[in-house]
Each structure stands twice: as C-alpha cells, then as structure tokens.
C-alpha cells in the first residue's frame, strides 16, 4: 500500500471536465498530507492521451491515460476493468472520483470489490489520524454527517460538483506521463454502448450561467415558464427548474436544479414559485445571492434568500423584467 492518491479525471467532449480540476485540487492536498504522490487517470476514446497531459499542470505527479475505441462511449463494465487494473498496479491509499454519472456509477462497485470505505457526495475531505475523513450532506441536505474511514487500506470518495475549489494551474509543471494498454474484449463485458445524445437547452448553459432564473411547482403550468424566459433574456440568464416542475413534465430533465439534477453556482439565483425543499437547495445552495418570489411567506426558500418578495409572480416577474431591461439598457 502506497500513500498515493489516485483521481479519476473526466473528459467533457474535447476538453477536460471541470471536475477533473476540482479532483486535482483536493487530491493534491490529501496527497501532501499523506506524504504521497498525486496520480491521475483519464479514460476515453481518441484524443485522451493529449488531454491527459494537461492534468500535470493541475498538480498531478503522474498521469495515466487509457485511450481506446471501446472507451469512447461509457460502459461501466469496460471502465471498471481498466480502473481496477490501475488500482492493482498503483496501489493507492485513496481513490477520488467526482459525483457524476460516471463517478457514482463505478465507485460503489470498486469499493465493494476491495472492501474499501466509500464516502459518497462529499463536500470536503481531509486526513484524520492517517485515515480519510469526509463531510457529507445527508437527508437531502437537512443534516451534515462527518465520517472517518475505519480502514488503513483503500478508501474511496466521490466529491460533489462545485463544493471544492479548482486546482491552481502551473504551466510548465513537470510530471510523469504514461499511456496504459487497454485489453477489454467487447464480448466479455456483457453490455455495449449504443449512443449518447446531448440535450442542450437554448441560450446560456445552466452550469456556466452568472444568473439563473428558476421555476417550480408554484408556476402552475408549463406555459408559465414564458415569464421566466422573458426575464432570463433580459438578464442573459439560464432558466432552471425544480424537480417538481420536471416530474410534472413541464420542462425537460436537463433543466433540473437539485440533488439529482444540476448543481449551479451563479452570482444570482432567482427562485420563482419554489418552496426550497432541501433536495432543491443542494443544487441551488452554492449560488452567491438568492432572490425568492413566492406567495407563501413561510416557504423555507426565504431562509436562504438575500431578498424576497411575497406575492404572485405573474405580477412581480413582468415588472421586474421591465425594470431590469431599463437598467441594463441605461
């Protein structure tokens, strides 16, 4: 067993996903506390080798890259085989993944296989008495749990998006780069990747937006998202939704902000007709300023808001839109 930390970096198309940088940031810190190295692993199809080299500048001492057609589309069976081989070879003390559709899919299986401690969806990680310690929001964010691994051998954690700072970029940093062979037979993995379809909302991406206008059950129907679209256009904002609005079929899933949707961290989050259920606040909580518009003055969203208006959004939003337009134009 080494004192090394292994991170599972991720691609986002032709770039490194932002979570790779978050993982490098926390991974570097943990590796330094353990007195070990930071090792990064990137898997994918064509272009993975080149992309992986960029992880050295994010603080990795060693970068492993697995590039193969069979890794072009994600199947956990193929990815698990490659990651598990790397675990055997590198023998890290800690494996960090991001809480993404890939990270949360591979980590539990690896953890069970190795009887490792597994801490899911962590907002902070540290070393206590040589062991991995984690902070995890539970019960949809209503409570916070601090946990510590009981094992001296492998511990695994997944990190919540946007909870941890990005790694510092150090251009020209030196590190070891290694291409690793991929021997996955399509017949042995009992599944195959068919296709991936991106569903992109029009306009600004939720994750990147400086301002998000979000609607919930209180809007009353799908057509009323029009009100939010108008305001969003003026503010160059993205439009989001609560799970209630998605479950009602009013808007598509990629617009969902919350524990099982997107986690956003805009400068301004305008919550319209959203009560502020904990699972929604997991996604909206990182916002710097929250404005709530709701008819119920007791709605929990107001406990998280900087400004609030109690009243009918059908009166508030058009007036807000008009005033904002005036201010933006001036």
């Amino acid at each position: 067993m080494s004192n090394n930390v292994l991170i599972l970096a991720e691609r986002a198309g032709d770039k490194l996903a932002l979570v790779s940088s978050e993982l490098c940031g926390i991974g570097r810190k943990l590796a330094d506390e353990k007195g070990g190295s930071l090792v990064a692993l990137l898997l994918g199809g064509a272009g993975t080798h080149e992309l992986a080299k960029g992880i050295i500048a994010l603080g990795a001492d060693k970068v492993l890259a697995a590039e193969s057609d069979i890794l072009d589309g994600y199947t956990n069976a193929a990815y698990l085989k490659v990651i598990d081989a790397v675990l055997g070879e590198e023998n890290p003390n800690i494996l960090l993944v991001a809480n993404t559709s890939m990270g949360r899919d591979v980590a539990p299986r690896l953890a069970f296989r190795h009887n490792a401690c597994y801490a899911h969806d962590c907002t902070d990680l540290s070393i206590e008495d040589g062991k991995l310690a984690a902070i995890r929001p539970v019960h949809g964010g209503s409570a916070i749990s601090h946990i510590r691994s009981k094992t001296d051998s492998l511990s695994i954690a997944s990190t919540r998006a946007k909870a941890l700072p990005l790694a510092d970029i150090e251009e020209g940093r030196e590190g070891e780069f290694m291409e690793i062979g991929v021997s996955v037979d399509a017949d042995e993995i009992r599944m195959h990747f068919v296709e991936a379809k991106k569903v992109e909302a029009e306009g600004v991406r939720l994750e990147d937006a400086e301002i998000v206008v979000s609607g919930g059950r209180g809007l009353g129907g799908p057509e009323n998202f029009e009100y939010l679209q108008e305001l969003a256009k003026v503010l160059k904002a993205a439009v989001g939704a609560s799970r209630a609005a998605v479950d009602a079929g009013w808007v598509p899933t990629p617009m969902q902000v919350g524990q099982t949707g997107k986690i956003v961290s805009p400068n301004l989050y305008i919550a319209v007709g959203i009560s502020g259920a904990m699972q929604h606040m997991v996604g909206a909580g990182p916002s710097k300023n929250i404005v709530a518009i709701n008819t119920d003055a007791e709605a929990p969203i107001f406990q998280r808001a900087r400004y609030g208006i109690v009243g009918d959004y059908k009166k508030v939003i058009p007036a807000l839109t008009e005033k904002c337009k005036e201010l933006m134009d001036s």
Partner: protein, 266 residues
C-alpha cells in the same frame, strides 16, 4: 421475465423542515411522531418499472426489503401496486448494517430465490444518500449493471437502457441477468387500486433471517461497517432575508431590481 425489486423505506422526505430533528449525541435522525415511513421515491419508480415490464412481457415480480415490522407496510403497498410476491429480511444481526452489509444480505436472499432476469433498484435513497447498495449488490452477484435509467425496454438481444445524464442521455444495451437502477424520469408510480389492496392483504410475506439465507452474521451489522460517523448536526442558515415591499407588487419588483443594481449583482 422474472424481476426482483429491492426497495428501502425512508423517513418521509416531504415533512416540513422544522419537523426534521437530529440527535447530535446519538448521531442519528429523530423520526417525527405520527409520520409513517414511506417507500423511497426512486425505489417506487423501480417497482413501477418492474410491473410495467411484467405487464408487457409476462413473468413475475418479487419485491424485497430489509427492515423492521414497519417495512411490511412498504411491501404491502408494492403487492397492492402489482408485485406478485414479497420477502421481508429481518434479523437482529442485520441491524446497523451499512450499504455493503445490506448488499451482502440482499445478495444472499436473491440466491435463495429461483433465478431472475433483472434486479431493479432505486438509484439513491433520500435519507442517507450513499447511492451504494444497488451497485454493491450487482458486484456481490457479479452482474452487469446500468444505473439511473430514464427508460428501459426489452429487445431481442437484451435490455436497452437510457441513462439520464446531467446533460443528456446515454443508451446502453445490456444482457440478462443484470441489475438496473431507476431514476425519477422513468415513470410516475401508480397508486394501488382497491382490488390491489384487497389482494395484497391476503398475501403472506415470509420473513427471512440470517440462517435462512446463510449470511455470516460477522459480515453484516454495525461492526462490519467500513467507516464511523464522528459528527452529525443540522446546518444553520442565517435567515436574514430582506423582504421587499411596495405600494403594489409591481413597485416591489421595481425596488428589487434597483437593489440588485445597487449591490452590483445585475
């Protein structure tokens, strides 16, 4: 097509936040009085998906859970929705089991049943959110797994799965037997019919303990956990919301825009 659904009962996540209480010493949640536990939302999606597959392709749906006597109510509801059989896993040795130990228990119970094509679970539980049990169960049984499904279809060669991603959809085809986890997008769970409730009330629910399913008590329960909880509390939010009012709501909206501009937020 024979399907096993593993469900979990949780504290109702929709209780008002002020009723959510924790015991910081015992490091556990204090269940609110007079509020019954409910089937975890994603688990109910899994039950619905299983019944849909059965209705289309025939076969049998067996639902199982681990828990105390209250867990029986959850199983009854699943039977009333249309599941054919239910099993309750209950033993003192199981108490305090973490996700891995639960997966070991479920795996042993699955092996006692007579074969299956699919195991369906929810993608995550709304209480402790480990997101681990289902995939660990797949690992324990060496099954291929596909998680967070928004659609599932039987094809000639296997099962076609659509995974709900943050920014789209991923389509994977998997062979059976396999384990799948359901996301909320997959369906809207049905309410049990009166006829279903009557049928369910007549069904026996067997209780299996550690010896019935040949689980080594040392491999489950609290002592087998791979981590310890060191602190547990409710987060505090300042609640310093400034309510903006005006002659009319339109005036309040205008004042809000001005405040946001003053604060350089817009």
């Amino acid at each position: 097509m024979d399907i096993i659904v593993c469900i979990k009962q949780v504290q109702d996540p929709d209780i008002p936040p002020r009723d959510f209480k924790v015991d910081e010493e015992k490091m556990d949640v204090v269940p609110p009085a007079n509020v019954s536990p409910v089937i975890n939302g994603f688990c109910e999606n899994a039950v619905e998906a299983a019944i849909n597959l059965k209705e289309e392709h025939g076969g049998k749906v067996t639902v199982m859970t681990m828990g105390d006597e209250k867990a029986r109510d959850g199983l009854k509801k699943c039977l009333a929705m249309g599941c054919d059989e239910a099993v309750l896993l209950q033993d003192e040795a199981f108490e305090g089991s973490d996700a891995f130990a639960t997966a070991r228990i479920l795996a042993s119970a699955v092996q006692k049943l007579e074969g299956f094509d699919i195991i369906l679970c929810g993608r995550l539980s709304s209480d402790w959110s480990y997101g681990t049990t289902a995939l660990a169960l797949a690992e324990a049984l060496d099954l291929p797994s596909v998680s967070q499904l928004q659609k599932v279809e039987k094809t000639d060669s296997g099962i076609r799965c659509e995974r709900a991603l943050e920014d789209g959809v991923e389509v994977v085809e998997v062979s059976t037997p396999c384990l799948l986890t359901a996301s909320n997008e997959i369906n809207t769970p049905r309410l049990p019919s009166v006829k279903g409730i009557l049928m369910a009330s007549r069904k026996q629910i067997p209780v299996w303990g550690a010896t019935d399913i040949e689980v080594d008590p040392a491999s489950v329960g609290k002592a087998a956990a791979t981590f310890e909880v060191t602190k547990f509390y409710k987060p505090v939010f300042d609640g310093n919301c400034e309510f903006i009012e005006g002659e009319s709501l339109e005036d309040a909206a205008g004042a809000l825009a001005l405040r946001l501009r003053e604060d350089k937020i817009i």
